[in-house]
């Protein structure tokens, strides 16, 4: 009986073909189907989108620093916040969350050579890239980019109120990125269902992979609804249909129902992968296993299941939705989210916590998400939503949450960057980036909570003269500047650390399978694999005397 922890060659297929030939340069990039290169392309492109969306944000915040700012016109302002939201959600957060890091990491975490459908994976990336180009090219049209908010409510988004190519390019860009997402969802499901290594049962998968599986199912449930809605909107705009206009018997609020049926699962599609990143980082830097692994998995599935039944909490003020049903379901989602937060704390509890940049970012995520999540609970109560809806209170709530996601994303980049590139990022610059980002986020969001409660609506290019409002806006702008500086710090770090600090296979003493292979991994990911007998195969291999025992099992005594 072999010692269960001996590494054994896994792949029976012919790896002697390791390519040292094949296309090079740009042709190599255009024809790649390697999930690592595709994922890296996704990551770089989405971070570029983050920077573009961030630039829009900085312009917005400078406009709002004074009540009658003249930085941009009323029309340009409407384009700015529309494209800020659209770029950030559709072009940065989504693709980063389910196309970037997961593409690279999920196959390696489950011991697979690649994604199940490599060419479909590549297609997803090209659809995403062309979707970005399509949506952003609205700025170069005569009428400007889309200007009806990232949610494009009907009838504002119809041909009468939003004529011009910018709106259609927005729709077109979303059709492309929508299909990109759907194909990635298919790929993730198939990969996780079929390509796990022997011994890697579902309940031994890392929580990151679990979260991506649930995200993939959510993508398949939600994105087709958005795509259908967009096609309906396009038909209303160009083919004379009246799906969303009262004239002709349509129902404008139907757009809101369709959009938010996608829109709410979308925010969990965005959040769950970042939850997953944090659930990988915290155990490693606490030197303990995830606390409550099964609870985490069930909480994720509960969040996903509930998320399909809460969409109309975005529509409480329409007066056309069943308030008690959506209020109750929305309040319920707080419970699995709370379970996750307690499990993260439980993981750190009695650990040996090591404050690398990745861990700082992860802790920053938990704190910021706690704040954003708690303010979300108010919004689940219709009487409280009636007077906060469409004010800066809501803007502050979701920015708390998405800035938490950015912190989580940075944790992922600092944690897995060495695995992907083979080089570690500088820790000092990383810590500067963290403090700028974390403090900047709170300085940015807290004034906006108050602004909303004091009556400032959202999507305002100018606001009435009011020293209190102006003062709070100035502080929020300061926070935005800090966040911008943190992004600059990140770019500086990448440039400064370029090929400077070689990482080795396992710089963080990581637990999961990706830390067993080289940095970066070879073609088809593994030269050898350990036996998989728990959810921490690499940890078990490196620290056999500290295996977390399965329930009821007793440790074998070593001779």
């Amino acid at each position: 009986m072999t010692d269960v922890l001996d590494p054994v060659v896994h792949h029976g297929h012919d790896d002697a073909h390791d390519e040292h030939h094949g296309p090079t340069g740009i042709l190599k990039w255009l024809t790649t189907t390697d999930h690592k290169i595709i994922g890296l392309s996704y990551t770089v492109t989405s971070v570029l989108m983050l920077v573009i969306g961030g630039l829009f944000a900085e312009i917005i915040r400078f406009q709002l620093a004074s009540p009658d700012g003249h930085l941009v016109s009323l029309a340009q302002y409407n384009e700015l916040f529309t494209m800020h939201g659209s770029v950030m959600i559709y072009l940065f957060a989504g693709p980063f969350a389910f196309g970037g890091l997961p593409n690279i990491i999920v196959p390696i975490q489950i011991g697979a050579p690649d994604m199940a459908f490599p060419r479909l994976n590549a297609l997803s990336y090209w659809l995403y890239l062309t979707g970005c180009i399509t949506m952003l090219s609205g700025f170069f049209t005569a009428g400007g980019a889309a200007n009806f908010g990232w949610v494009a409510y009907a009838p504002l988004s119809n041909a009468l109120n939003s004529p011009g190519a910018g709106a259609d390019l927005w729709i077109g860009g979303l059709l492309l990125t929508g299909f990109s997402a759907i194909f990635t969802g298919v790929n993730l499901c198939a990969t996780i269902f079929y390509l796990r290594a022997p011994g890697m049962t579902l309940f031994r998968m890392p929580v990151f992979t679990w979260n991506l599986l649930v995200t993939a199912i959510l993508i398949l449930l939600a994105f087709p609804v958005l795509t259908a809605g967009l096609i309906m909107l396009y038909c209303d705009r160009h083919f004379g249909t009246h799906i969303f206009s009262v004239q002709g018997g349509g129902v404008p609020v139907l757009w809101q129902n369709i959009f938010w049926f996608w829109g709410h699962p979308e925010v969990y599609i965005l959040a769950l992968p970042f939850f997953g990143i944090v659930t990988e980082v915290i155990p490693v830097f606490s030197r303990k296993p995830v606390f409550g692994y099964k609870g985490m998995v069930f909480a994720t599935m509960t969040i996903a299941a509930l998320s399909l039944g809460v969409w109309a909490h975005h529509m409480f003020t329409t007066g056309t939705v069943l308030l008690p049903f959506f209020s109750f379901m929305s309040l319920l989602i707080a419970v699995p989210t709370g379970i996750k937060i307690f499990n993260w704390i439980g993981t750190m509890w009695r650990g040996e916590i090591w404050f690398s940049t990745a861990m700082l970012m992860a802790i920053g995520f938990v704190v910021t998400f706690l704040i954003g999540g708690l303010t979300g609970i108010y919004l689940a109560s219709p009487p409280l939503d009636f007077f906060t809806h469409d004010t800066y209170f809501v803007v502050a709530h979701f920015h708390s949450v998405v800035m938490a996601l950015v912190l989580g994303g940075m944790a992922g980049l600092y944690y897995w960057g060495p695995k992907i590139t083979g080089y570690i990022l500088n820790e000092t610059i990383g810590k500067i980036q963290f403090w700028l980002l974390f403090i900047g986020t709170q300085v940015f969001t807290f004034p906006m909570y108050l602004l909303g409660l004091y009556g400032m609506p959202r999507r305002m290019a100018v606001y009435p003269h009011n020293p209190e409002w102006q003062h709070l806006n100035e502080i929020a702008t300061l926070g935005a500047i800090m966040i911008g500086l943190s992004t600059v710090a990140f770019v500086i770090n990448v440039a400064y650390s370029w090929k400077k600090y070689p990482a080795g296979d396992n710089p963080w003493d990581g637990h999961t399978l990706e830390w067993f292979t080289t940095s970066p991994p070879p073609h088809h990911n593994f030269y050898r694999l350990p036996q998989i007998r728990s959810e921490r195969p690499t940890w078990d291999y490196n620290h056999p005397e500290h295996r977390a025992l399965e329930h009821g099992q007793h440790e074998e005594t070593h001779a």
Partner: protein, 289 residues
Amino acid sequence: MTKVLTVDTPALPPQGAANRPRGWRRFRRFVALPLAALALSGCTLPKFGVTKGDTTSSVSVFHLWQWFSVGAAIIGAFVLVLIVWAVLRYRRKGDNIPEQTQYHLPLEVIYTVVPLLIVFVLFAATMVVENKEVANPTNNVAVNVNAFQWGWKFSYPASDVVVVGETTQTPTMVIPVNTNIHVQLTSTDVVHGFYVKDFNFSRFALPGVNNVFTLRPTQTGVFFGQCTQLCGLYHSLMFFKVRVVSQSDFKNWLAKNRNVALYNASTKITDQQLSTLVATKYTGTIGEH
């Protein structure tokens, strides 16, 4: 407390050591104190950023906000303290590998069930206030509010009075104090938001939908309102006011502003707009600098 490298004892299942006493003591300290302070302060909770407002339902909403905030503050403080404690107390001190605790079922059950109970309480409180807010008593004064790009029209069907204004003209909706005001809110073009901060309330004006709600103002005064749902170019400037006056002043104002011809013409325009949904003021200029 120094940690010695430990080896898992074969006989012990890997359950987390019960840290309940410490956690419980800490919990009691952090909950008891604020609750005591609350009780001692004679139950005047902090405002948490919101005001009582000037209608009957705004007061209930305000109280609901306060209680939600108390809950959020307690839970938030509790969790934040746990995080800060963990981060400070369990900093790495050497190369030791800590006990590899994976789960603690009783604790996990507690922090599943307790939030669930809190959710039920929040939902019950929400329903009480919501039922009050959505009630529409029959003895009332009717006002029809029509939102359009980019202004407001207030009409009083029983008295043939209409008030209309655009953007910074800031039309004023005059209503009597201590009376049920029965509002029918609609739009003749895109979605708008009828929002009055001092009423702790807003509602969408949807084309093709008659949104009905009742307000009962409790104070006289002038209250500022704005459109909150993005409606196009001049969304930032779609202001209105609500002026609450005494009931006798209201009767006088109605009599003074009665204008049957204007009211009928205005109603006709609105009905026309509703049937064709063509915005009357849209000129299509893009990029106003």
